[in-house]
Amino acid sequence: MPDTTKYLSHLELGEPDQTFLDTNELIINMGPQHPATHGVLRVILKLDGEKVLGTECVIGYLHRGVEKIAENRTYAMFNPYVDRMDYVAAVSNGLGYCEAVEKLLNIQAPPRANYIRVILTELNRLASHMLWLGTHALDIGAITPLFYTFRDREEILKIFEKYCGARLTTHAFRIGGCLYETYEGFEQDVTKFLKFVTPKIGEYEELLTTNRIWVERTRGVGAISAKDCIALGVTGPVLRASGVKWDLRKAQPYANYAEFDFEIPTGKHGDTYDRYMVRMQEMRQSLRIIEQAVGKIPEGPIMAKVPKVIKPAVGEIYHSIEAPKGELGYFIVSDGSTQPYRVRVRPPSFVNLQALDLMVRGQLVADVIAVIGTLDIVLGEVDR
């Protein structure tokens, strides 16, 4: 049997306790087949009883070489691949990639396309947060919210399906705008959904926000300071829960987010409870944005003038958007051919996962689960 401890770089077992108790530290392997690691994350834990002394994440079980694939595909051909990274927020991934290439080509998506993009992206943010809430609650032991959130997420997926035919890996946007015109009754569907979902968010909160066990399980768990967040490059709700008001939708507005009025919810302590509250409020803010956008989708074309063969000039571009999980950036290097020379993705899940060790050190095993849940990682994005 291979010795699992051999793979560890910094998790060395301490000397056995020389007192009469004769205890020893324990290394246990959590994952990749574990119900609560949100996919195929493998975490090696060094434990002293129930206390976590250190962790090491082993990733790459879902590595598909997305960035390498990009080098052998044209710009348009690579577009569907980005949906497979963060598959619960495929629309956001598509938006980031399309905008990055548009920036490289120096073209602008028409306003109508921008509105459709914002509505779908915010719907996707809701869907992603709902999935996060359900699975996070399930990890902490509340099994019911999962079914509530999946019920409501279904309505979002129905809208996606009606719009572009796909539910999860939507491939909704194209370089230069959108391929599909909104279907008959799109705006009514979205309005109906807004009416449907607003009380539902209250329903989730009723189950959890003031629930004594929930508060005890999340308050003070996996706390991380704003300074550490910035040092580790952690973004998204995790950063905002630590009190930093940083949201790319406001800080570097893309699409047409500058036109909408919304707030950036922030937390104070940077613990799991604050992250929960930040995400819950973000869901409400997303609803606000959709509400503003859906009433005034302008008429006009949905596609900018894009050359048939996309052949950007030699150069490089970095464009980032606020995905549900944090800053999602695309760094594209063009050598003037039809295929990108290099595509580098800055996935929020991958960067946020770095904070795991810092957040769980000295806490208990159960907290590791809570923290993995609250980081909201998707392994498709971590491994790419």
Binding site: E50, I140, L146, R151, I213, E216, V365
Partner: protein, 415 residues
């Protein structure tokens, strides 16, 4: 011989007291069978009730409304390959589920389903129940240790710590209820399960309302501790699925696993029976003093039949609402047959001689069923406690509360 069989029926005591081995054996078989049926029914009910709380349907395919699902599951478990991990301690691994399941069943010897409906009436009944049921922790630790694997080991350690700590709070609550039994002319209490219920009958009140709110607090302490004792949500850390995959029985599968399952549910029923016996008047019907008299006695004696009639009507209603497609013909017929069975039971329960004998059992089971529903409800509502928080609740909240209630009960009882 015939005399031996029939003499018990007029003896007005439990088979154990009457020294009638034959009837004791029959009672044991009845309890064992009834318990197995209850566990199977509980399995189905839990899945259905939880499903409806979670906006889904639960089992719907195997039999009408999934009624045969638990049976299908049982068959699946029985014909599964029997896996024994290579690194496991063979003998301990084998014996652990047996200990758990035997302790879970043995406690039912003293559970009083009625004034005479118990296998025997021990004078230390409640002590016996607590003692034997706490032996199951031994099986749990053995299972975790013998698996020779990290997750089961941690699950077993958690569960032994949890069971041991909550037993103390549980014991204190129990003692305060037992103190209440001594409030009679002779001033002597009783540990006998039947005696405790009879004391409540004599004092014309259930102990949950006695010395309000002391009885209620003791009851609540017990009700919380018993959930922890049986490792159910929100105290299901030993088998915390999201942390320890399945806790102490991670390495078990097939029949051995089903023994743990059986033990878990019968332990739930056992501790609920203790709670019902000590605080909720055991087999006594509700409102014995407020709604007294022959008329009310008659009305309440009809309740068992009415309950089954209601269930039968529910069944028939679902039968009518089944899809009218040839594919569903067998299912529809099956549901109608099940409804018919329930209706037959209902009619049988209306027969005067059956009615009088069965209503004690009915009220006891109904109260226990209420607790079973609570268990399912907890599971659908609460997140899971963390280990340190669980210990905090046990030692810093329940234990002082239980102790305080005990002292106050004693003081109140004296004055």
């Amino acid at each position: 011989m015939l005399n031996y069989i029939t003499s018990y029926l007029s003896s007005k005591s439990t088979p154990g007291q009457a020294g009638n081995m034959l009837w004791a054996f029959i009672y044991i078989l009845l309890i064992f069978g009834g318990l197995s049926v209850a566990v199977i029914a509980m399995n189905w009910l839990e899945r259905k009730i939880l499903a409806h709380m979670q906006v889904r349907l639960g089992p719907m395919r195997v039999g009408p409304h999934g009624l045969l699902q638990p049976i299908a599951d049982a068959i699946k478990l029985l014909i599964k390959e029997d896996i024994m991990p290579a690194e496991a301690d063979k003998f301990v691994f084998w014996v652990a589920p047996l200990i758990v399941v035997i302790t879970a069943f043995v406690v039912f010897i003293v559970v009083p389903f009625g004034p005479t409906h118990a296998v025997t009436d021990m004078n230390i009944g409640i002590l016996f129940m607590l003692g034997v049921s706490s032996l199951s922790v031994l099986g749990v630790v053995m299972a975790g240790w013998a698996s020779n694997s990290h997750y089961p080991l941690m699950g077993a350690l958690r569960s032994s710590a949890q069971m041991v700590s909550y037993e103390i709070a549980m014991g204190l609550a129990v003692v305060s209820a037992i103190l209440m039994t001594s409030l009679n002319s002779t001033g002597t209490g009783t540990l006998s399960m039947i005696g405790i219920v009879q004391a409540q009958q004599a004092q014309h009140t259930w102990f949950v309302f006695k010395f309000f709110p002391l009885g209620l607090i003791a009851f609540v302490v017990f009700a919380i501790a018993m959930v922890a004792e049986t490792n159910r949500a929100p105290f299901d850390l030993p088998e915390a699925e999201s942390e320890l995959t399945a806790g102490f029985h991670t390495e078990y599968s097939g029949f051995r696993w089903s023994l743990f399952f059986l033990a878990e549910y019968s332990a739930m029923i056992a501790v609920s029976s203790i709670a019902v016996t000590l605080w909720l008047g055991g087999w006594l019907r509700p409102f014995p003093t407020w709604l007294s008299g022959d008329t009310w006695d008659f009305v309440f004696s009809l309740v068992p039949g009415v309950t089954f009639l209601f269930l039968a009507v529910l069944c028939f209603r679902s039968t009518v609402r089944m899809p009218k497609h040839p594919y569903f013909r067998v299912q529809t017929m099956g549901l109608a047959a099940f409804g018919g069975l329930l209706a037959l039971i209902a009619i049988a329960l209306f027969i005067p001689s059956v009615r009088d004998r069965i209503q004690d059992i009915y009220w006891f089971s109904a109260k226990v069923a209420g607790f079973m529903y609570l268990y399912i409800w907890y599971r659908g509502t609460f997140p899971r406690y963390r280990f340190d928080q669980l210990m905090k609740v046990g030692w810093k909240v329940l234990l002082p509360t239980g102790l305080g209630v005990l002292v106050l009960t004693a003081v109140w009882g004296v004055f």
